[in-house]
């Protein structure tokens, strides 16, 4: 099956903990993205990688860091989570500058 896969689906953690989210695409795309979607459904781009190179790095807190091992994987690490980090994190991919394909999202709850 060709798609964008994200793990875990849900994650509940305490303030100050570290979390990591995984994203893998089997579409053969060369560009991957991380978005944060808040409770009002607003999407905000966080990072974008093209061929393992960081090309978009929006203003996000330094506790967020992307990790790309190859073109098919783009993980997101959050050191010392804060309550405002509670959101849905969506991973997407595209081939060049065409439409994006999205994963199902990872819902993070910070207690």
């Amino acid at each position: 099956e060709t798609a964008v896969f994200q793990t875990p689906n849900y994650h509940v953690t305490q303030v100050g903990n570290e979390v990591s989210f995984n994203c893998k695409q089997t579409l053969g795309h060369d560009t991957m993205y991380w978005y944060k979607q808040d409770s009002k459904k607003l999407l905000k781009i966080m990072f974008s990688y093209n061929n393992k190179q960081l090309i978009v790095n929006e203003t996000v807190p330094r506790r967020f860091s992307p990790q790309s091992s190859d073109k098919a994987h783009l993980n997101l690490r959050i050191k010392s989570v804060e309550p405002e980090d509670s959101a849905v994190y969506l991973c997407a991919s595209s081939h060049g500058l065409v439409e994006q394909f999205f994963g199902p999202g990872t819902r993070l709850t910070v207690l």
């Binding site: 009002k40 607003l42 500058l97 994006q100 999202g105």
Partner: protein, 113 residues
Amino acid sequence: AQSVTQPDARVTVSEGASLQLRCKYSYSGTPYLFWYVQYPRQGLQLLLKYYSGDPVVQGVNGFEAEFSKSNSSFHLRKASVHWSDSAVYFCVLRSTGNYKYVFGAGTRLKVIA
């Protein structure tokens, strides 16, 4: 700066009625435009896209959209909605030459019996 405005945060229509969801964009060049749908607890799915050519583009599940450069709009339409169309719809713009996609705030559609 590029921007996308979806003026209607919520729209309620009766099943079988026609639908139009509005989208206005701000961009000096020719944009690439998309409509995505997000069902509850799911990621975004592409409905249709416009790059160039015929301003009316057909998408999945009977959706279509019309691009208007003069009005800077890309409205989404459907002739007859079904209850399963209840979801959040996003209008998205991508400017040429970079990897940034600009999302509208979304329109939450509710289809009632």
